[in-house]
Subunit: 202 residues, 2 copies
């Protein structure tokens, strides 16, 4: 039986330290056809960052042209730099049957939800702020000030969690990965996406 | 972390030969806490059927009292006998954190969907009517007339599949079981059911 269906668009958000990268790596490895969307930015590449892999590095003029043409699913400006999600590659991959994964913060996610009602939104969170704080500290990469700023940001983001369709709790990374995978599997079983299987032979 | 949540109500429908019993057996075995609802009926027990296990066998008077009291999630009359789903045990199990599984035909399922917007509905179907016919024939239990009647019934039921939230295609029973399990797992990740996890420590 040909089980092919168009791909689905998944938006994953969650505070720094929630485990987004691990969950996304698991999904990319496990799903048949999945594509992780590469964001565009006007900030300068950091050492080791590769254009087209880590980000699409664009000039302000190029970025503003994408905005003007409506070719971004979402975009925002932080500390003087633009960040955004180009719609072109996302739509191409969806049409080719790939599930497309976006890792974006809450403001961008809300833009995607508004622009794309078909997007499936997932908010990832550790089992509480105490655990989040512990994880950020264990990384050992951030100053105390930065940790406190990240925690404050996490509290702000959590207030938006109810806008997402799903909440995945990362108490154990295996739980979080299998819940995220279950969400994608289930969303592809939506009756609206599958009625054609029953009609083909009717 | 205490991951306990109230249970969810799942309604599974699908034509005879779709594989409902196998899927339900898999779910009961795999889920942490799951309960399969036992229907009530006024038909006489068949040989080997046990009251309270296969059905709750009731008199017409008892059944009509349940109807009058609004104590059935759904009910219907077939060939002079009542069949229905008692609400009491379902609600008790949900409150105790069990996922409750109902195996009911489309008319009953539509009553449950109307009465319980929280119910998650799944329509199970083989990969096409040709395969369904083959499966019914292979069972060797039905007359040709009965097989044709089941196929006609399946076509009627399939027209209602779009009313269900999900469609699971049973091409391989392992696929169907894992999709059904993914649906239950995903539905328990709905943000409305999990916001309390984020608020507890806020």
């Amino acid at each position: 039986m040909d089980r092919s269906q168009p791909g689905k668009l998944f938006v994953l958000s969650g505070p720094s330290g929630a485990g987004k990268s691990t969950v996304i790596a698991h999904l990319l490895k496990t799903l048949d056809k999945a594509y992780f969307s590469v964001s565009a930015t006007t900030r300068a590449p950091r050492e080791g960052e590769v254009d087209g892999v880590d980000y699409h590095f664009l000039s302000r003029e190029q970025f503003e042209e994408l905005i003007a043409r409506g070719e971004l699913l979402e975009h925002a400006e932080y500390v003087g730099n633009y960040y955004g999600t180009p719609a072109g590659p996302v739509n191409e991959k969806l049409a080719a049957g790939y599930d497309v994964l976006l890792d974006i913060e809450t403001q961008g996610a809300e833009q995607v939800m508004a622009n794309r009602p078909d997007a499936v939104s997932v908010f990832l969170f550790p089992p509480g702020f105490a655990v989040l704080e512990e994880r950020l500290r264990k990384r050992g990469t951030d100053s105390e000030e930065k940790i406190q700023a990240r925690l404050a940001q996490a509290r702000v983001e959590c207030r938006r969690a109810g806008l997402y369709r799903y909440i995945v709790i990362n108490d154990l990374i295996e739980n979080a990965c299998s819940e995220a995978l279950a969400i994608i599997t289930a969303e592809k079983c939506r009756s609206a996406d599958r009625l054609h299987f029953l009609k083909e032979e009717d």
